[in-house]
């Protein structure tokens, strides 16, 4: 048990900053309501340091205070991809040793999502932030379908190319459009009875591994993840699958 609190300038002082808008005019009652929210959140010594009218019926507050909650970090479990990441060369060697053929990765930015930079970062030759993309990997055939690809097209292309791994990028998350779209794809795989034929991996700025698992995917990768992270997971998972089958 090692309970901690946020830190301002003295250990466990609990200092925290908040900001939010309320659907109220900017006046004393608005400020009092802002404080009431902070109290409900478990904050003491609430100080509304700034308030501003956004229009007649909306006001914005910046608040500082002391959080009374404590958390024991040792009691938490981190849902992260567990395989250790290998280098490009190690991955290439691993495929060479463990598989008797090249592996096929097919990817797309799906639904109405037109953002390609994320999936390109993983798949294209040049990669991202100095990490080459899958197209440059020996023993990997990388097929990038681009963006605005609907789920049906993605599946039929995956079947056509006998893909081992399907990669899906989702960037637009407003009103959980990505959840709807990702759920639909898993349902499609299941309806077609092909869920177990692929390792299916998702990624995007607001995607993480916990969410991926929740939605029925094999893994999820967010910002600061690169081709080697994804490929490491995929080749190990494929090898695991081969053993089971």
């Amino acid at each position: 048990m090692a309970l901690i609190r946020p830190y301002g300038d003295t250990l466990n002082d609990g200092k925290i900053q908040l900001s939010f808008t309320l659907p109220l005019p900017c006046d004393a009652l608005g400020e009092e309501t802002a404080k009431a929210f902070a109290h409900k959140m478990g904050i003491e010594n609430v100080s509304v340091v700034h308030s501003e009218a956004l229009s007649e019926g909306y006001s914005y507050y910046i608040v500082y205070g002391t959080l009374t909650h404590q958390v024991d970090p040792t009691s938490l479990t981190v849902t992260e991809v567990e395989t250790t990441a290998m280098s490009k060369e190690a991955i290439e060697a691993y495929i060479d040793t463990h598989f008797d053929r090249d592996l096929v990765f097919i990817g797309a930015s799906t639904g109405t999502d037109a953002h390609t930079v994320g999936i390109d970062a993983i798949m294209n030759m040049k990669g991202y932030s100095g990490h080459y993309g899958l197209e440059r990997y020996k023993h990997i055939k990388a097929i990038n379908l681009g963006s605005q690809v609907d789920n049906e097209t993605l599946l039929s292309e995956a079947l056509k190319h006998q893909a081992d791994v399907i990669l899906i990028s989702q960037t637009v998350t407003q009103k959980d459009v990505h959840i709807q779209n990702l759920t639909a794809f898993i349902e499609l795989l299941e309806a077609e009875n092909v869920r177990d034929d692929f390792i299916v991996i998702i990624g995007g700025a607001r995607i993480n591994h916990a969410l991926a698992k929740e939605l029925g995917y094999d893994a999820g990768f967010g910002p600061k993840k690169f081709a080697f992270d994804v490929a490491s997971f995929a080749v190990l998972a494929l090898h695991e699958k081969k053993k089971v089958n």
Partner: protein, 519 residues
């Protein structure tokens, strides 16, 4: 603060761009598209949807396509049917929808466009009334600093209105209603007030009307006209331009190159559509916003700065060919250099000054940092402040404000308010800064501007040789490659029959040519 640039190079760039565009005008002239035809119908006064939510204009075009020969143009059929039935275009559309009328019989009759003129004139009259209203509103408006432009993107027109009103109160001059992710690929325009969009709100005529009405009310309260923006882009580009003209939008995002590159729309389709849409906007005094700034979201902003400039030259000629005045050409550029780069501000300032120098009368659309924004909202606040400094120091016209939460979500009301506070503060603090300093003759900024210009020239030389289609195929813009034979919407393109008529565009162009757009 003035750059030292070679004016001959600038002139040569314009000549190249004109060659590039002229080359395409021939193709454009020979073709029409389903959306161009639907636009004609809209301008003839046809509105509304059927029980399956299909717009009557689509019903009509599909009907002609399925049962007759669309290459003659919808005007041919309508002229014949109006003359024959004495019904209005709207009534005709409804009858066709109800299958109580067919246009097939009119396929081969002789037609005279004169019968359609009253309908066209009545629409143009409505548009002119809107122009007059805008003119009156605009008299109250200061124009000595960039106009503050913010987006609303809740997906729900009624929430959008709340957000827009708040923005106006906090100093916004221009409100853009962003569209839902899927709309640009729809080959019809949705109908009515809508509340369900993702990352934006459907562009419908009713949504336009509702927002314009709300903004007119705020404009009166604030004593300051608040402009409204939407997207004449995607597969329904000219239709939306027409809707915007009718509902008094003030600006339209409008750029085929954006659709080709970022939406995979077929290049022929959208270039044809764009031509008509720009003629309409030119007539309706609607400023267009072009999208070359977006290239820098996929390409490095430092290395590819010249591609933006080259594209601005091309867009200028596209607009000119559609009889647009310079004062309506909101050519795009952006503040997108990696903040980790040494002297990033200097390069940005040089680029902003360069655009302004070359297009002094165009109301340049200056985009904020987006690509290098992160979840660090404090750093983001600074990135936006620097961008604001560049905007006000080089006196940009249309100043899209950066959001501190750009990397996180579509803007909250407070994000927008903070953005407006940021811009207002910077405008004041740097009011005469641009006028109070000079670039060093052989300094970093002057040299950078000269380099970008000469790289743009080289690129324009190449494009004028190889043609724009090849350029797009080679992925010279945004490093994304597109083929003329692929892309969405190609099936909606058709070659005009010899007898093809578009009486609307004829009237518009005639009046634009006569400078007589004020009836």
């Amino acid at each position: 603060m003035k750059l030292t640039l070679n004016e001959d190079t600038i002139r040569a760039c314009r000549t190249d761009a004109k060659t590039i565009v002229d080359d395409l005008i021939t193709m454009i002239d020979k073709h029409s598209t389903v959306s161009v035809e639907r636009t004609i119908l809209r301008l003839l006064g046809i509105d509304g949807v059927n029980d399956f939510d299909i717009p009557f204009v689509n019903v009509l075009v599909d009907h002609i396509n399925d049962h007759a020969d669309l290459s003659k143009g919808v005007s041919h059929y309508l002229a014949a049917a109006v003359k024959d039935t004495k019904l209005s275009p709207q009534a005709i559309a409804e009858k066709i929808n109800a299958s109580t009328l067919s246009l097939k019989p009119y396929q081969d009759v002789e037609t005279d466009m004169a019968v359609l003129m009253p309908y066209i004139e009545s629409t143009l009259e409505a548009i002119n009334k809107q122009k007059a209203t805008r003119q009156t509103f605009m008299q109250s408006r200061q124009t000595d600093q960039p106009e503050k432009y913010v987006i609303v993107a809740t997906g729900n027109i009624y929430e959008d209105i709340e957000q827009a009103k708040s923005a106006a109160k906090k100093g916004a001059d221009i409100i853009a209603v962003i569209r839902t992710t899927g709309q640009s690929l729809l080959d019809y325009v949705p109908y009515g007030a809508t509340t369900e969009g993702f990352g934006g709100t459907y562009a419908t005529q009713e949504n336009f009307r509702l927002m314009r009405e709300a903004l007119d009310a705020v404009s009166k309260e604030e004593g300051r006209y608040i402009k409204l923006v939407n997207y004449a882009s995607g597969l329904c580009m000219p239709e939306i331009a027409a809707m915007g003209a009718i509902e008094r939008l003030d600006m339209m995002l409008n750029d085929s190159l954006y659709g080709i590159i970022f939406r995979d729309i077929n290049m022929k389709r959208t270039l044809i559509d764009q031509y008509f849409s720009r003629v309409i906007s030119a007539y309706a005094d609607i400023t267009i916003n072009t999208g070359e700034d977006n290239y820098l979201t996929t390409s490095d902003a430092f290395d590819h700065a010249h591609t933006v400039l080259a594209s601005q030259f091309i867009n200028e000629q596209f607009a000119a060919s559609a009889h647009m005045k310079e004062s309506l050409m909101g050519l795009g550029h952006a503040y997108e250099i990696d903040p980790d780069m040494e002297n990033s501000f200097l390069y940005e300032l040089a680029q902003a000054a360069l655009s302004k120098h070359i297009f002094p009368r165009a109301p340049l659309k200056y985009m904020p940092p987006t690509k290098h924004m992160t979840g660090d909202i404090f750093k983001g606040t600074i990135q936006n402040a620097l961008f604001n400094i560049a905007a006000v120091s080089t006196n940009q016209s249309i100043h899209l404000l950066g959001m501190l939460t750009e990397a996180i979500h579509t803007p909250f009301m407070s994000d927008r308010a903070l953005a407006l506070d940021n811009a207002t503060y910077i405008y004041k603090a740097f009011k005469d800064f641009g006028a109070d300093i000079e670039f060093k003759e052989d300094g970093l900024m002057n040299t950078r501007a000269q380099d970008v210009l000469s790289n743009a020239k080289a690129l324009l030389d190449t494009i004028s040789e190889e043609g724009l289609f090849t350029t797009l195929e080679k992925g010279r813009f945004a490093e994304i490659s597109r083929s003329p034979h692929l892309g969405k919407g190609l099936d909606g393109v058709f070659e005009k029959a010899p007898s093809y008529k578009n009486p609307v565009i004829d009237v518009l162009i005639k009046q634009l040519k006569e400078g007589d757009t004020w009836l």
